[in-house]
Every structure is written in structure tokens, then in C-alpha cells.
């Protein structure tokens, strides 16, 4: 059942040290800034974070990294011009990095949510990122076996939720959130708006409430994605 939380701190409560935490967003679009700030206050350490990037500038995921709470990051693109927090930690050996092709990252999250034990993809065949991974010929083509990424917690952002946890997003801020919501034991969502059941168009719900455990409404911040 989906719980509507009255504060960000309530929404992120109980995240244990050593957890695997999925963090939505592509760059800053769809990044759950308020939940990350809550996680920094909450203080869980030794985290493995899965997110497309490794933080931008000094807020959001970058602030979580700076707080020293993250042991390892799994992402596709940690090398952005404003990923200086990550870069310093990485160069000083203070954070582990696993790079995955962006599509394999998304599909591995989906697999975890869909009960798929593993899948064969052509992405990465013959490259450094397939080293140590099993390959296989299927129908004359070579594929690499990728395994699911399941997590303890997903922190994501959506535009509007109803009180049953059904979610809709806004434009490209949708990105990883719907698959991450399916791959975590506990999915926590920050939203701009909360409405009663029946307000969202059932044909247009992107994440059904079954995937959502906690919702918290946050204020809109100028120039920042919800």
C-alpha cells in the first residue's frame, strides 16, 4: 500500500547503511533533489548508488557523494564537465565506479522489476564493458549476458501522484524513474502535486501505484525539475 508522507524525512526514513539506492534523473532532469537532501540528513552510509550520471555541480547526487555516504556508484556517464565532486573522490580512490552502457543499465533495472534472471544483449560485445561477462551466439550473432540490478530503495521524482500512488511525469524528466520504481523493494517518490484517485487519466498513468510505497509532496523550485 502506498503511504502519503507528511515530510521528506518521513519519506526517506529507515534506509539502512549498506543499501543499494536507485536515484532517478538524467543530469538534473527528474533528479529527486528533496529526497537526496533528506537522505543526507538521514545519514545512511556505505551506499551503492545506481544513477545515470555521477552528480552535477554541488547539489543533488553530487551533495550526497560529497557527504561521503556513497561507497560505489553504478552509472553510464560519470564524466560531465560539472561532475567535479565525483571526479575528486574517484581520483583519490574514495569511491568505486562501475560503468554500464546506458541501455544495459535501463534494461537491467527493468529485468529486476520484471522477474527476468538475465538477458542477452548485443550492446558491449567485444568491448571492455563485456570483459568477464559471458557471451553467446544466438542465430549467428554474438550477445553478452547481463544480470538484473535489484535495489533496496528507489528515490525518484514525478510530476503528479494520486493517493494510490499512480504517477505521471513531465517530458524528459520521466527518464529512469518508471523502471527504477519497479526494481526496488521500497520506492519513494517526490511529487509536485497529489490528487485523489480518479483524477489521473487511467490511460495515461505511467507508473501504476503498485510500484510506489511512499509519496511526499515538495514545493516547486525555480529552474529545477520536480
Amino acid at each position: 500500500m502506498t503511504r502519503l508522507c507528511t515530510s521528506v524525512d518521513e519519506a526517506v526514513s529507515g534506509i539502512a547503511d549498506g543499501s543499494t539506492v536507485l536515484i532517478g534523473g538524467f543530469g538534473t532532469a527528474g533528479m529527486p533533489f528533496d529526497l537526496i537532501e533528506g537522505l543526507i540528513r538521514q545519514g545512511a552510509r556505505d551506499l551503492t548508488v545506481v544513477s545515470n550520471n555521477a552528480g552535477n555541480a554541488d547539489t543533488g547526487l553530487a551533495a550526497l557523494l560529497a557527504a561521503g555516504q556513497v561507497r560505489k556508484i553504478v552509472c553510464s556517464f560519470p564524466r560531465q564537465t560539472d561532475s567535479w565532486v565525483f571526479e575528486e573522490l574517484y581520483r583519490n580512490g574514495k569511491i568505486e565506479l562501475e560503468v554500464a552502457p546506458q541501455g544495459s543499465l535501463a534494461e537491467r533495472l527493468r529485468a529486476a522489476g520484471a522477474g527476468i534472471g538475465g538477458f542477452y544483449t548485443r550492446t558491449g560485445v567485444g568491448t571492455l564493458l563485456a570483459e568477464g561477462k559471458e557471451t553467446r551466439e544466438i542465430d549467428g550473432r554474438t550477445y553478452v549476458l547481463e544480470l538484473p540490478i535489484a535495489a533496496d530503495v528507489a528515490l525518484i521524482s514525478a510530476h503528479t501522484a494520486d493517493t494510490l500512488g499512480n504517477l505521471v511525469y513531465r517530458k524528459t524528466a520521466r527518464n529512469f524513474a518508471p523502471v527504477m520504481a519497479t526494481a526496488a523493494t521500497t520506492t519513494v517518490v517526490q511529487v509536485r502535486h497529489v490528487v485523489e484517485p480518479g483524477v489521473l487519466d487511467p490511460e495515461a498513468v505511467v507508473t501504476p501505484g503498485i510500484y510506489v510505497d511512499r509519496i511526499v509532496r515538495v514545493a516547486a523550485v525555480q529552474g529545477r525539475a520536480a
Binding site: 527528474g30 556517464f77 541501455g103
Partner: protein, 227 residues
Amino acid sequence: MSVVSAGVVEHTDRGPLGRDEMARVLAGDIPRGAYVNLGIGQPTTVGDHLPPESGVILHTENGMLGMGPAATGDAIDPDLINAGKFPVTELPGASYFHHADSFAMMRGGHLDLCVLGAYQVSVSGDLANWHTGEPDAIPAVGGAMDLAVGAKQVFVLMSLFTRTGEPKLVRECTYPLTALRCVDRVYTDVATFEITGGDQVLVRETWGMSFHELRSRVDVPLTAATP
């Protein structure tokens, strides 16, 4: 203005193409109505040469088909960005989808074409474009590997030589690979190449350089396109 020699269209009466001209040449070869993904960096500029009447529909891997030009001023919306994280706009007939659906579209072979930058392309179409291989480089692949294996055609847009004059069209890539045998065409400042899968690369057109001069500067067997 153009000289046809050994089947190659040679524009030797002018210098190599500028970055904008390279993008325009490539854009001219994109079929009408194609679904296209433009990689981050220089490939993104190809979009500036695709007028609405081309019917080309742009995909961005962060979850959108029907992407419009860069957003400016009040049209900037932090929720609407391209794969390079720059603000863009939405065209009529656009659609949004999540990352797994977006990459299923790429990996499933539904995009007609993607345009990527490169460090190196080999005779057989191997692509190296994500990692310099230097020990202290931070590896970052993004969606490059997915695009390279997934798109029906892969066009590379790059300068033919490095700043130190090394050709980037090579017999075997020395940089870490992005994907094997995936590149179809290479658009550079001095020539346009077609990768045929054989042991020769086809030259379609040259700028500021003759076919023979090109042959002497690139350590790859080159054939002239049949006119």
C-alpha cells in the same frame, strides 16, 4: 568546381570543410522521414541542417521522439532536455517514454540512423568513441554502445586527422572499442567514406585534397567509388 577522378568527386579547388559544412553534407544524405538519433557534441549540430520539410524525426535517448530545435529564452524548460543535457523543444507529434522503452527502441533496430563522433573508425567499421584508454581517464560510455549496435545505419562525423596529424580512419582501432563492425559511413572534413565490410574503404567525395593525396595520408586501403 568539382573534378571527377577515378570515380571520386574531388573538390580540390577549395579547402577542407568547416564543422558546419561537414554537418550540412551529412544532413543532405539523411533520407526523408527517417528516424534519427544525433549523438552528443558535434553530431547534434546536424539537426540545424534538417528543415521541417525533411520530415526527419529526431530521437533523444533520454526518452523522446519528435525533438525540436534548441530552446532559448522563455522556452527553456528544465524538464525538457536532449542527451547532451541542453534544453530543447517539442514538435507536434512528439512522444515521451521511459529509459528502458527508449533504449529498447534503439537496441531493437528501429532507428533508421544515428550520427556519432569518433576517436577512430577501422576498415571493417569498428568504432572507438567512448574512452581514450589513458590510465587516468574516467570511463563514461552513455548510450554510445547501444546506438552503435542498434541503429540500422551508423554515420560517423569527425575530423579525419587528430591535432597531431594522425589519421582516425585506421586498419585496427587502438582505442577501446565501442562496437564491432557497426559504422556505415564516415563524414570528415576532407573526405566522405563508405565502409563496405570488405578490406577496402570506399571514398565518395573529397574536399581540399585529391584522392591520391588522401591515399598517401591514410594507412588504409582506399577505393574510389564508382561514379
